[in-house]
């Protein structure tokens, strides 16, 4: 960050950000990061595993069970065509909608925890000074 030229139109907020981070000790930063990253990562990995199971599983089904994959489905499609050409899109939409909602919930909780932590640190450093 040292190489950044001073922004000509500092919004005031940017300066505020710098001080916020200074209030947290290294251990507090670590703790906050740990809870932020682990919860988000667990969610992302969970959703991506479902998705990977679908997108990597389908070629496997096509290979191992061709009679099932190529059997006629409603509407004149084969099952594998129906899944890949049509149903794939609503399925990913549902998956990402689930992710958005869960991720939003996590962020709201984290924002509260984080703010509380920063406030506590600010009070502490205020007392110290």
């Amino acid at each position: 960050m040292a190489d950044m030229p001073p922004p000509p139109q500092t919004t005031g907020q940017a300066g505020h950000h710098e001080t916020v981070a200074e209030h947290l000790s290294h251990e507090q930063q670590e703790k906050l990061l740990h809870s932020v990253m682990n919860r988000q990562a667990a969610l992302s990995v969970r959703v991506s595993l479902v998705f990977l199971a679908i997108i990597f599983g389908l070629p496997l089904v096509n290979w191992l069970l061709p009679d099932v994959a190529n059997a006629l489905a409603p509407g004149g499609f084969t099952w594998t065509w129906l899944l890949l050409a049509i149903l794939f899109y609503p399925i990913t939409t549902v998956l990402s909608a689930y992710f958005i909602r869960a991720s939003d919930r996590i962020e709201t909780e984290l924002a509260q925890e984080g703010k509380a932590m920063v406030q506590a640190a600010q009070q502490e450093s205020g007392r110290g000074a």
Partner: protein, 673 residues
Amino acid sequence: MDFIPVFFVFLMTVATIGLGIYATRAAKTASDFFVAGRSVSVFWNASAISGEYLSAASFLGVAGLIMKHGYDALWYPVGYAAGYLFLLLFIAGPLRRFGAYTIPDFAEGRFDSPTFRKVAVIFVLCIGFFYTMPQMKGAGLTMNQILGWPYWAGIAVVGAVITFNVALGGMKGITFVQAFQYWAKAFAISLPVFVLLSVFGGYGGKVKQNVDAPADAPKFGTTTTLAFPGKDKAPANAIAFSALKPSLVEFPKGATIDKVGLVRKSLPGEDTSVPLYVLSLTDSAAELQQLMEMPPLSSADSLELVNAGAGTAIQPGNGLFAPLRYVTDSDGRPVEQNGKPVVTASKIELGSATDVTFREGSYIPNTQTNEKWVKPYGTLTAKHGYPMLYTYSLIIALVCGTAGLPHILVRFYTNPDGRAAKRTTFWVMVLLGAFYVFTPIWGTLGRADLPSLYANGKTDAVLIALPKVLENQLLGQILAGITSAGAFAAFMSTFSGLLVSMSGAFAHDIYGKMLRPNATQAQRLNAFKVAAVVCGVISMGLGLLAESFDITMLVGWAFAIAAASYFPLLLLGAWWRGLTRYGAAAGMLLGGLLSLGAIIVFMMLNSGVLVADVPPVVRALLEQPAIWGVPLSIGIMVVVSLATRQHVPKDATLKMLRLHAPEEIGLSKDYVE
């Protein structure tokens, strides 16, 4: 009535310029130019990202690929859309939170290394120009095909209009235009489908035709004369005759044969003689009929057949007769597969441009049987004999490549915060899905109702050609006009995104960070405008050079580099604290360059520039390098980072917090104020 498509394209061009000027009135500050003032709402931003992403390759190419390869090509739209799920899950939120404007910003800010910025800038420009060339070529070709303009004219119009818009209004100037262009494209790909389905019959029924007659293939409904190019336009000069029935074609204009061969690639030891004869078509119809019904391997007695080979000149009015032949091994025994003898037909490559007439009811050359089209592991993925490997590598390339395209990633900085970035990505997936779900319908309708496009390799034109088949000529021309305008919107929106990304790299990274770190806002803004014009002119020049290049090849290069360089960088950079600048740079450079190298070696092997005995599995891995390139890049990043552990940035924890903590905590900071 050919003026109708011209009129629609004209309308689209005028609308693009007009909206650009309208939106530009709001673009004043450098922030407007680089990130549209970060004031773009989720709906407009999602429309703009989708509009930018749906390039010529998506609009014309995907439907054409599905028509050509059938089920196998369904992975393309799926991969293109699925890339955004990975962006959503792992990259969109953190990248926006980090506050960096370009990937080079991220590279430098995350690792405290100005050198890394330089490496990253080079990758942005490489991917940008590789991706620009096919857009330009698509514009030139499409305008040539549908409107008869010379090749350079389409490039000049698209190039000039977009360079004008970008130089005038930057990111803010194009955001609204791109959003409008998404809706234009979505309308253009969907509305004609509903009309065509109501005339030609249902989607499922058309797929089922292929399931019901697996051993059959599309036939000419009427006697059809098609124009073929000469060997200067190879491989479009090739005619691979059907292996279902003997074929008879005539040449109203005469022709020379440049090369002859067999449709089926011969294995070592097999008989490679080519069954191909020239005959005079003045012979009686009864005899010709008899010839067509001849069983394979029998010789013709009554007609005078002349063996045809490379160099044969065919006189106007002469026919070319391509019978079938059993494949035999070195001992003359028939080769069997699944208990049935294998049959093949001949394949010719024309020397000069000529017209070729195919008779009513004859099988269309250059396409596969219905079974191979509708079932997985057909002509695309099974060509090297390792269909599973090819499929997985293709999926990885498309998903990781999409998630690493720099001109898409800069768009995430136009979101007000990380949550908005995630919501935007979600809506992008919905909008892209709503678009891509129509592409297989076009491919399926094309195979059922305009299969003659297979013969001379014009499947890419299915969106524009198919509506013209309608009996109602006026309606057909109007629908073709709508799809032509959609195609034009596709070239323009993708090119405008690329131009903003490349101009940003020059003005923000090279000028603003390396050459003149103390430049004022006004100077940076001017640098952006100059860079836009320079990049626009370079792009037009590259477009002219790209006429002989293969579009999918260039897009493949861009995706291969993005998948094995930027995707691992962003994924590990956002989620692994221990990544060092050395690890990231080594993985990015080696992964990106080796993948690119592999594709170039494959192209050279394929075109015969490089002659080597390469096993098919290696060929598959060279053509689709993602399956080893992405893990290799990630692996190098991890190993080198662990070896250079002392170089993990001191404030890595704070950096990671900036990437992941919600904005409300107050740890984020924007690079472009």
